[in-house]
């Protein structure tokens, strides 16, 4: 035992969170992040003049937006707003129907066939990797402008979302219950209906409501590419520089989104 040193200290073990290699790689990650920020800010070339007069521009815009032309609501907004809600709802229902088989195929505890599994994953990923505006552009090209293109765009974008989350919910069910039903000699479909379905039902409603909430917001902009809804009204007002009408449209969208949010929160509270 060394003199002068606390004898208790000698026996202490060191608490080590990371090994030296881990510590080195953490520093490396930090370095890469900083480098990425530096490189990208240099690359985008922000024009300083545009940045300096931004406050003036904002004030100018607000002046033109205010006061909103509320009379425009009855003329051009109301119809389009209702249409937007219909696009969101129909799109969500269609997405749910499409997502059910895909989710079943993507859940590893239900589908063991690797081919089906890979196919389901492909569907889910491709649905999510394309923005709903891009889907809308595609469907406008196929079906022409209008609500049908909007509904399909919303549905195709939502399949990936609903399918992925439902698939994950299916994978998280208590497998003991499923095993017990299998042990009674129940056919696979009955096991799905009585073993899996009661367990994922709350999650499913929650997912679908959440997606509907998102879709109300997404369908509001679909009109910008001609896929129906309030976005058309917004686009028209923007193109004709009627900023007071733009303000009315924006306010209506804002109100609807808030109401949708409140409704969804209430319903979710009730079912779960």
């Amino acid at each position: 035992m060394m003199t002068g040193n606390d004898p208790v200290q000698m026996t202490h073990r060191r608490l080590q969170r990371f090994s030296p290699l881990e510590r080195f790689s953490r520093w490396l990650v930090l370095l890469v992040v900083v480098a990425a920020i530096v490189v990208s800010t240099r690359h985008v070339e922000i024009i300083p003049e545009f940045l300096y007069d931004a406050p003036t521009q904002i004030l100018d815009l607000l002046n033109r937006l205010w006061p909103p032309d509320l009379s425009y609501y009855q003329q051009g907004v109301h119809e389009a707003l209702v249409e937007t809600l219909h696009i969101a709802s129909l799109g969500t229902i269609l997405a749910l129907i499409l997502a059910l088989p895909v989710a079943l195929c993507s859940a590893t505890n239900i589908t063991t066939n690797p081919l089906l599994h890979a196919f389901a994953k492909l569907v889910l990923v491709s649905s999510r990797s394309v923005n709903s505006l891009v889907w809308a552009l595609l469907f406008v090209a196929i079906f022409g402008p209008g609500t049908l293109a909007g509904v399909l765009a919303i549905a195709f974008r939502s399949v990936g979302f609903v399918g992925k989350l439902l698939g994950e919910a299916l994978e998280e069910v208590h497998m003991g219950s499923v095993e017990a039903l299998k042990a009674t000699g129940a056919p696979a479909t009955s096991v799905l209906l009585k073993g899996y379905w009661p367990q994922v039902m709350p999650a499913l409603w929650s997912i679908v409501l959440f997606r509907w909430d998102i879709n109300v917001r997404e369908s509001a902009v679909l009109g910008l590419v001609g896929a129906g809804g309030i976005g058309v009204a917004l686009n028209n007002a923007l193109n004709t520089f009627y900023w007071d009408k733009v303000a009315t449209v924006l306010l209506s969208i804002f109100a609807v989104v808030i109401v949708a949010e409140l409704v969804v929160t209430q319903i979710r509270k009730r079912i779960i």
Partner: protein, 277 residues
């Protein structure tokens, strides 16, 4: 779907008709030969078991955890696929059955689980009726169109296990002991010809454990069907079983009466001796 409404003979089967009567002169319900199971190649969990189980009475399998008791039980209804060997149940080799054949065989094999394995969000009575899923089509199951005699039988069984007034409670509202009663009733709803119980009392307190074992032994006795129960509580097993099977490292090392079980046997089954008093 083909076995939708298995004919008019079914309700009769529900009431304690002796399965043994169908096999006059045959006193063995289950015959296991050379049962071998490895989850990973080269690591055998069951090392060629031979076992005959009579048409009635409780058989308790004791042994330390990880010795293959649960695997043995699950191989019988192929919740776990055996690697090799034969499992002859009512004249059929279960290991060779097709999927449809396996489902038909499973209807005759009731199973009770350690964690009850109820469908938590369904009511108690619906959990019982799940025991009939092997007999009705998925479409009928979906719309809850169970035959009325099944429903009568479910309520009757619920009374028998002492939960008559909890029929419409959700399963997740029940205590452990109550859940296991539902688990037993669900297995009996199948009108099984044999009952398998995998550690049915391990999650329960000592008093409830005794009640559950008592209930299971009594109901199986009423139906005159054999019970195979995995149990790590030697005293509890000895109290209710007419036959004890001791397993160690994938082999049967004791097979006989509970009274014949000595400390030497227990030492062989569980290893060590400090725990013996």
């Amino acid at each position: 779907m083909s076995e939708t409404g298995s004919g008019p003979t079914e309700p009769e089967n529900l009431r304690g008709k002796r399965p043994a009567d169908n096999f006059v002169g045959e006193e063995t319900a289950l015959k296991i030969r050379g049962l071998f199971k490895e989850y990973r190649p080269g690591v055998a969990v069951l090392k060629g078991l031979d076992l005959d189980v009579d048409c009635r009475g409780v058989t308790a399998i004791i042994g330390p955890s990880g010795t293959g008791k649960s695997t043995l039980l699950r191989c019988i209804n192929r919740l776990v696929e055996p690697t090799s060997g034969e499992i002859i149940f009512e004249g059929e080799d279960i290991t060779k059955l097709s999927r449809a054949g396996l489902r038909r065989a499973r209807r005759k094999i009731g199973m009770v689980f350690q964690e009850y394995n109820l469908v938590e969000r369904l009511s108690v009575i619906e959990n019982l009726l799940c025991g009939r899923l092997g007999y009705i089509s998925p479409l009928k199951a979906w719309f809850r169109k169970f035959p009325s005699q099944d429903i009568d039988h479910a309520f009757e069984l619920l009374d028998k296990v002492g939960l008559g007034d909890l029929a419409y409670q959700r399963a997740d509202n029940l205590s452990g002991g109550q859940r296991q009663r539902v688990g037993i009733a669900r297995a009996l709803m199948q009108a099984p010809h044999i009952l398998l119980a995998d550690e049915p009392t391990s999650s329960l307190d000592p008093k409830t454990s005794v009640e559950i074992m008592e209930l299971m032994a009594r109901l199986a006795g009423d139906l005159d069907i054999p019970v195979i129960v995995n149990i790590h509580d030697v005293a509890l097993g000895s109290r209710f079983a007419q036959r004890i099977i001791g397993m160690s490292e994938g082999n049967i090392v004791y097979d006989g009466l509970p009274s014949g079980l000595t400390d030497t046997h227990l030492k062989e089954i569980y290893g060590g001796e400090d725990w013996l008093q």
